[in-house]
């Protein structure tokens, strides 16, 4: 798992790549919560390079979604591969995170 970051205006994009599993979910969750803690309210999760997500990774994403909801911010996702989209749909994450095909569209949605 690796996270690449990009800040444009007040929008922070975190590109999470590789595997979000039992071994890597915790550092990813810590980074997400830390971003919210430090005041980020418009977060884009670019998951184009995410190959695999297990339930422990879903828990981390949900924890971040709950925290962000509490501070009235918004997390959107983009670039979901078919396997990731399938897991998101089973878990009902398509209801928790608005999803966009590309990073550009996700950033545009956060800017509006």
């Amino acid at each position: 798992m690796e996270i690449k970051e990009e800040k444009a205006g007040n929008i922070l994009t975190l590109a999470i790549g590789g595997r979000l599993d039992a071994a890597s979910a915790r550092p990813a969750e810590e980074r997400l919560l830390q971003a919210i803690e430090s005041g980020e309210r418009r977060l884009v999760l670019d998951l184009q390079a995410l190959e695999y997500v297990a339930s422990v990774g879903l828990r981390s994403l949900m924890t971040a979604a709950k925290r962000m909801k509490g501070v009235e911010g918004r997390i959107v996702v983009c670039g979901l591969r078919p396997a990731i989209r399938q897991v998101f749909e089973i878990a009902g994450f398509d209801r928790l995170f608005e999803s966009f095909p590309t990073r550009e569209e996700a950033i545009r949605a956060q800017a509006s």
């Binding site: 599993d21 039992a22 071994a23 695999y52 297990a54 339930s55 422990v56 879903l58 828990r59 949900m62 924890t63 979604a65 709950k66 909801k69 509490g70 078919p82 396997a83 399938q86 897991v87 089973i90 878990a91 009902g92 209801r95 928790l96």
Partner: protein, 141 residues
Amino acid sequence: MPERSLTLRNDVAEIERLSQAIGEMGAALPKDAVGEIQLAAEELVTNVIRHGYETGQPGTVDVLLRLDAGGFWMQVRDRGRPFDPLSKPDPDVTAPVEERKVGGLGILLVKRLMDEVHYRRVGDENVIETLKRVGPLGSEE
């Protein structure tokens, strides 16, 4: 009929070894299906590690993999306390974010990604058996 058995320590670091074995056995199967089986396997083993054994207590998880005409079959056995992960109701995945529970998604994934999942208590063992009906590439009707 290819069959393989593995004994894993109850440590999440062991999941990679299981994932690899599934990948090798499923080399001729559609890649998507293999990925789904690997995910189901990770969820089942993680579940045993989290619920079956007291935290930090050494233990093992025995996994049997078999690929035959019926599909890809997997059995996961542990000697932890009796625990039927299928007995709990599925989490409500339609609830708004503030009401959603963070747990229960692993078993939900197993149920949806695999075609059959069964639990039995046999002697001092928890036994989960699961099947994905899948054949080699090009063999679909």
